[in-house]
């Protein structure tokens, strides 16, 4: 039986407004299981944001958030896509993966909870901090998941604080 669940954490209200000036729109593929290239997409995203001249705090938080999301795709999913959108107001990072999904999002959000294999843990991943870090470092974080299908994450980091 498939179970779909979702949760939204709203620390701040604003959404990325579609009618707004889009400065960057990029899409990156992530290979599930390939730890050799893990972090490549986040490194690329960081340099794009730096080139845009965004404040260092925004670049720093975006890098943490995209890295954790990328590592999750590599650790658990078959494949995933990371979409980066930058407007003058915000950085949006959306991640869609094909994978096992998350049966209990509330539990997965808890710091220290992890289903990572021993092999993943030996590399220093799978400490149960990924989703927690994503939530702490983004201004808005949406997550939805369907078991045996995949997980969708959307993180917004505001450039101009309201």
């Amino acid at each position: 039986m498939r179970k779909a669940s979702s949760a939204v954490w709203k620390k701040l209200k604003p959404e990325v407004n579609a009618s707004e000036n889009i400065l960057v729109k990029n899409s990156f593929d992530v290979d599930g299981g390939n730890f050799d290239t893990a972090g490549t997409v986040s490194t690329r995203i960081k340099s794009i944001l730096k080139e845009q001249g965004l404040p260092s705090d925004v670049v720093r938080r975006s890098a943490i958030v995209s890295y954790e999301a990328e590592i999750n795709v590599v650790s658990y999913a078959k494949r995933g896509v990371i979409n980066l959108t930058v407007t003058p107001a915000a950085v949006e990072i959306a991640v869609n993966d094909e994978g096992p999904g998350i049966p209990d999002i509330e539990k997965a959000m808890q710091q220290g909870y992890s289903t990572a294999s021993q092999q993943i843990r030996e590399m220093g991943f799978g400490a149960g901090m990924g989703l927690y870090n994503i939530k702490s470092y983004s201004d808005r974080f949406d997550i939805s998941s369907e078991v045996d299908k995949g997980t969708f994450l959307k993180m917004i980091i505001l450039i101009q604080k309201p």
């Binding site: 730890f35 050799d36 972090g39 490194t43 720093r60 943490i64 890295y67 991943f125 400490a127 901090m129």
Partner: protein
């Protein structure tokens, strides 16, 4: 304090980025990558015993001054290749993490 100076003071073997000489402003010790991602600061020296290539991405993403591997752990070959390509400083110490962290802490404090 420059990473080259720290290497000389503490007898660290410089494996990559010898010409970089980044300015180290602090340090962070840990083997959990998410912990380092969340808590290390830009300009920190990262003390760890993880030797696989993902440490290079963490150092790049966090703008860390250098990675120091403890207990004479050598970086994996692909780690070193990646570090050279991305200009990340990797150094090796014969000391365990506790002792090395203390020495780096004292060194950075005495240079302030």
């Amino acid at each position: 304090m420059e990473t080259g100076m720290i290497a000389r003071e503490l007898n660290l073997k410089v494996m990559s980025g010898a010409d970089k000489n980044n300015n180290a402003t602090g340090g962070y010790t840990g083997d959990l990558l998410s912990d380092v991602m969340a808590n290390a600061r830009e300009g920190d020296i990262w003390i760890t015993r993880q030797v696989h290539q993902n440490i290079v991405a963490v150092a790049t993403l966090k703008d860390l001054a250098a990675i120091v591997l403890v207990n004479s752990c050598e970086p994996a070959r692909d780690t070193l290749e990646k570090a050279m390509k991305e200009n990340v400083v990797i150094m090796v110490s014969s000391q365990p993490a506790f002792e090395l962290s203390g020495r780096i802490f004292n060194l950075l404090n005495s240079s302030k």
